[in-house]
Every structure is written in C-alpha cells, then in structure tokens.
C-alpha cells in the first residue's frame, strides 16, 4: 500500500446548488415567509383597507395565545413527540387560577398570578412528562389521555360556571396598553400582554440554542435511543420539555383570560390541531428533530393572517371553510414542492 495514490484525488469543487434552493432547504421557514408576504400583498391589492396600522396591531394581538401554544408544541415536536393536551392544561390552569385568586386573594399582584399560572401549567406538564417517560408510549397517546383527564377533572370537579367579573388586577392587566393611538376616530391599542410572546420566543430560542437542554431536546428528536446511549437523561428531558410546554400553556391560558375579560372553562380545547398545523406550516417536521422558533412564529402569523382576512377580502361565511381548507392544502403542497426541488 503506497501513499502516493492518495494525493491524486484532488478535491474537485463540489457542485454548487442554487443558493436560493439551498436556503430553502436549510431554512424551510423561508417558504412560510414567502407565503405570508404573498398573502399580505394579495389582500392589500384586493382591499387596500388592509394596509392600516390597526391591521398589524390586531394580528399581533391575535397571535399571542396561539403563539405561546405553538412554542410549546414546537418544543415537543422538536423532541419527536406530539402534544394535544396543552389546550386542556391552559383551560385548567386559567380557570382554577382565576377561581383561586378571585375567592382567596382578589388583590394578588399580577406578576404573582402570571407566575403561579405558569407554574401550575408546568406542574400538569410534569404529569405528562412522567407518564410519557414511564409508560414508554408515544406522547400522542398519552396526551390524548391527559387531555380528556384534565378537561374532565376541570369540568366535573372544579367548576363550569363562567367567571365574568375577573379579579381587578387581572382585568386591568388585560386592558393595560403598550401602544395606544387614535386613527379615524377610534382608539387602537396594542395591549401590554403582547410583549409576553416575543419574550417567550426569545427565552425559548435561547433555551434551545444556547443550553445543553435545548440541544438535548433536538437530540432526542433525532433519535431517542442514541441520545440515551450518549448520556442524555431521557427522564430529565421528557419531564423538562413537557413542563416547559405546560408552563407556556398555563401562561397562554391566563393571558387568554385577561384578554377575554372572562374565564370560560370551555374555551381553548378543540383548537389543538390548528396550533399543530401552524407549527408544521412553520417548517417543523411532524416526525421531529427539526424546526426553528422563528419558523414557528411565522407559521402562527400565517394562520392568524389567513383567518383574519377572510372578511377583509369579502369571502362570504359559507365559503370561508372551503377557502381555509384549500389554503392549508396549497401551502402544504407548496412546501413539498419547494423542498423537492433540491
């Protein structure tokens, strides 16, 4: 064996694929962004009234709760699982928290209420995590079970009565403006709670990309058995990620209450598939291990925008479902098409 042969295989420059396609491949959320821009342009052409600052504010506000849910769903998806119990967790925490505060400490500081709701959600998330870990079954199955369980406990044992007059601090938080301006004789308000979404997104991004835990979550999404073999503790990861998703759900729940000015225990449950769809439209694969926080937010925006321009572009309510359904299919097909080009 002589070494002389080895130098002959001079490194031929690798064939450079189209940089745009390369981008789309590495960052599928560019597709989401493209779709989003396309829709906004189309809607503005059909109805220039869309181009008002208030549109942006309304879309921003409407994205908060779904965005928080989506971040949680994304983390579970990144680790290769699926969670459908988060809406039940949100309903559970927001309702019982409001009930508790109202009955026992109506003047509780709002920060405390938010933290308590987040912690409550995390606690229920831990239940998910423990079950997923110890029962060793796919998280979809476990969370279908816990969705029924949590919702059943809430409605059967905690209460069904809507709380229409919230504790004052909570109500005030829901109304607290971040930006407020007048336009055409009406007040446009971006509420303060909107900030929670970018803050949560930032924390989530940081957690996923800068901490070992974040990498561990993706590692588990890549291949759980391998991750375990490499020394990642599956138990810790399972418990953490479900607790994190639960915490986000708890937070989303209490913000939903504050924004809505009432605590309705029937709310939220039933929207989980839409949230999952938003995350998938944001470029995360349903089979796990991929996706980005930015993509998730874009996916949420896409869904919110599509849902909030139907009246704007004058689609009669009988046709709205057909349009949204058709849009999801088109968007999904577009996604596949772009990724296949590589």
């Amino acid at each position: 064996m002589s070494a002389t042969h080895l130098h002959e295989s001079a490194a031929a420059p690798p064939a450079k694929p189209n940089p745009l396609l390369q981008l789309v491949r590495r960052r599928p959320e560019t597709i989401t962004l493209a779709l989003l821009v396309a829709i906004c342009v189309a809607v503005s052409i059909i109805n220039p009234a869309f181009l008002q600052p208030s549109s942006l504010v309304d879309i921003g506000r409407a994205s908060v709760v779904m965005g928080l849910f989506a971040l949680g769903v994304f983390i579970i998806l990144a680790a290769g699982g699926i969670d459908v119990s988060f809406t039940a967790i949100a309903a559970f925490t927001m309702y019982s928290m409001t009930l508790l505060v109202k009955n026992y400490w109506p003047d509780a500081p709002i920060a405390l209420v938010l933290v308590a709701a987040t912690a409550g959600g995390a606690l229920l998330g831990v239940v998910n995590g423990l079950l997923v870990h110890y029962l060793r079954v796919p998280s979809l199955i476990v969370t279908i079970g816990t969705q029924y369980l949590f919702r059943g406990i809430l409605l059967a044992f905690i209460g069904t009565v809507w709380i229409v007059s919230l504790p004052p601090t909570l109500g005030a938080f829901g109304r607290l403006p971040l930006v407020q301006f007048d336009s055409g004789g009406r007040t446009i308000t971006l509420p303060f709670y909107f900030l929670v979404l970018p803050a949560a997104a930032l924390v989530t991004w940081w957690m996923l990309n800068r901490t070992l835990m974040g990498r561990a979550i993706f590692a588990v999404g890549g291949n759980a058995n391998v991750a375990e073999r490499l020394g990642y503790s599956l138990r810790t990861i399972h418990i953490f990620m479900f607790a994190y998703a639960g915490a986000l759900a708890g937070l989303a729940g209490i913000i939903h209450t504050a924004a809505n000015r009432q605590a309705n225990p029937f709310d939220l449950v039933g929207t989980e598939i839409n949230v999952i769809a938003a995350v998938v439209l944001g470029g995360a694969r349903i089979t796990g291990g991929t996706g980005t926080v930015l993509g998730t937010l874009l996916g949420v925006l896409l869904v919110v925008v599509v849902n909030s321009v139907l009246v704007m572009v004058g689609i009669p309510s009988t046709w709205q479902r057909v349009v949204v359904g058709g849009f999801i299919l088109l968007a999904a097909a577009f996604f596949v098409f772009c990724q296949k080009k590589n």
């Binding site: 459908v84 079950l131 110890y134 029962l135 060793r136 079954v137 796919p138 979809l140 199955i141 476990v142 279908i144 079970g145 816990t146 969705q147 029924y148 369980l149 949590f150 919702r151 059943g152 406990i153 809430l154 409605l155 059967a156 044992f157 069904t160 598939i273 839409n274 999952i276 769809a277 998938v280 439209l281 694969r285 349903i286 089979t287 009988t318 046709w319 709205q320 479902r321 057909v322 349009v323 949204v324 359904g325 058709g326 849009f327 999801i328 299919l329 999904a332 097909a333 596949v336 098409f337 296949k340």
Partner: protein, 331 residues
C-alpha cells in the same frame, strides 16, 4: 414488537367488567335487551370512523385521518341534495334509498382517493393534508346545503337500516360487524393488507421491495373514505336528516378508540377486532354514566383515566418479566 394478543385479552376483560359493573349498578336494567340494542345502534358511526383512523395510522409515516367525520357528513349531504333533486324519498322509497346509499359511498370513496392522492403523489404530511381536507369537506358540505340540515326522510330501506332489527340485533350493527370483518379480512388475507402493514413498519424497505406505494396509500385512504361514507349512510338512516356539523367531537374520540385498541401511531400494527372492542368499551362506559345520571364531564375524565390505566397495566405486565429496554419490542 407488541403482539396484539395481550391487547385483545385486555379489551375483552374490560368489556366484560364494564357489563358486569353496569348490571350491578343498574340492577340488571343495563343488560336489558332494549338497552343492549340501543347501545349497539349507537356504535357503528363512530366505529366506522375509528377503523378508518386505524387504517391511516397503519400506513406509517405519521399517517392519520382527521377528515373522517367531515367526509361522512359531506357524503350524506351531497348525496341527499343530489339524489333528492330527482328522486323523492316518499314516493320512490326503494330507488331513493339505493341511490342515496350509492351516492354517499361514491362521495366517501372520492374524498378518500383525494386524500390518498395528496398524500402519496404530492407527499403532503397526512396530518396537514387531512386537516386541510377536513375543512374543505366541511366547507363544501356547508356550501352545498347552505348551512342547513338536509332531510333524507325515512324511506323503507334506509329506515330499516337505521332502526330495524335482525334476529334482535340492530341492522346497523350487523352491517358494522360485517364490514369490520371484511376490512379485517382485507388486512389479513390480501396482498394489500400485507403491503400496508409491511410498508407501515419500514417504508424504505417497502420501496426497495417494489411495493406499489402510491396504490397502497390511495387504497388505504379510499377505504377509510368508504368507511366514512358508510358512517354517513348510518347517520342519515338513524337521524332522518344529515347536516354538515354533526359529530364534531368524533374527531378525537375516533383517535382515542384507535390508540386504545393498540394501533401503533408509528404504523405497521393494528387489528380491527381490537378497534371494535375498544369502541364497544367506550360506548359501554358512556352509556353506563348516562344510566347512572352522572355528568358527562365525568365521562371525559373516565375515558382519559381508562386509557392511561390501560397503558399502565400493559406496561406493568412487561416490567415484571422483562427489562425496560426490551419492552419496546416485546410483550
């Protein structure tokens, strides 16, 4: 690999336990023939949908069918509107019934084929695809019916399907069991069934082995669609009317039944008999709670608890015998 034998036994045990328990708390009234008939009559619509979900799950690769009940409603609505426009359910009873059934089944199959094409040809993730078609189907049903209920009436044949008894067993239940048997045979004895289950465990190997992936996927979703169409027929036959928003809660319940039956969401495993038994168990439980006059929220709670207990019991059996590592593969 989880052998489904244990699952089957467990489901049988649960069903028997529920029957005994129900009889005990109701002083036997729970086992009265009329109540048994009533429960059997309620079962088919959700049962068909659950089998459809099972088929989609077996195909692997995140296969799932969220569009089942939407398609069932669409088939009923479209068939009722179209057939109703040139046949009368009062004057031409037999013709109307047959045409209605045929129409609903055709719409069901077409919807299923549509799903299958999108998933196999365009490679759209099943969960996104069927979510989209779920909205599309519902939306089309709204458009076709303008949001109203469409009357089917009770022509002889249909009302016989909805309300009739055969040897004391509701005819709809007989149909359900027969169709479930056919699907089970399809899975067990035909090339399609073998391809489906093998493909579900390893799609890549299936490709190398030259399986007709597209055809299998389309056939799978088409069968699921056909079952939706059947569900649509049963709904119409029992309720005299069809409507686009019927049974929205069935979406998750159908999945619940499938996973309780031990169908693996990763694909490759599922037995029709287990799905039927799981559906019966849920039906027994929910009727029992209605008998006891308990709040329906308790039912949700009980379903969740039942599913989790089920998983825990399955796991516990394993723990005693084998190492945790192995339990993923063997029972």
């Amino acid at each position: 690999m989880r052998t489904t034998g244990g699952q089957l036994v467990m489901l049988v045990v649960i069903n028997v336990a529920l029957l005994v328990f129900g009889a005990a708390i109701s002083g036997g009234a729970f086992l009265s023939p009329f109540n048994l008939q009533s429960m059997a009559g309620q079962l088919p619509e959700i049962g068909f949908l659950a089998i459809g979900v099972m088929l989609a799950m077996c195909a692997g690769n995140g296969g799932i069918d969220l569009s089942g009940i939407a398609l069932a409603n669409l088939s009923g609505v479209v068939s009722a509107v179209v057939i109703g426009s040139f046949l009368s359910s009062v004057d031409q009873q037999a013709a109307y019934s047959l045409a209605f059934i045929a129409g609903a089944l055709v719409v069901g199959v077409l919807g299923g084929v549509f799903n299958g094409l999108l998933i196999s040809r365009l490679n759209i993730t099943p969960i996104l695809c069927t979510l989209g078609t779920q909205m599309l189907f519902t939306g089309l049903a709204v458009v076709v019916s303008e949001g109203r209920a469409v009357a089917v009436g009770s022509p002889d044949l249909l009302s016989e399907i909805g309300n009739g008894l055969f040897l004391g067993v509701p005819i709809s239940f007989v149909i359900f069991i027969a169709v479930a048997g056919l699907v089970a045979a399809l899975l067990k004895f035909t090339p399609f069934g073998l391809w489906l289950m093998l493909m579900g465990t390893n799609p890549k190997a299936a490709m190398y082995a030259g399986f007709p992936r597209t055809k299998v996927l389309i056939a799978t979703y088409a069968t699921s669609g056909l079952l939706s169409g059947l569900a649509g027929v049963i709904i119409a036959a029992r309720n005299v009317n069809v409507k686009w928003d019927y049974g929205t809660s069935y979406l998750l319940i159908a999945i619940l039944i499938a996973v309780m039956a031990g169908v693996r969401p990763e694909g490759g495993y599922g037995r029709v008999v287990c799905v039927v038994l799981a559906a019966i168990a849920l039906q027994l439980m929910s009727s029992m709670l209605n008998f006891g006059g308990l709040s329906n929220f308790v039912r949700d709670f009980a379903w969740g608890a039942l599913l989790l207990t089920f998983l825990a019991v399955g796991r516990y059996n394993v723990v005693g015998l084998l190492t945790p590592n192995k339990s993923k593969k063997l029972v």
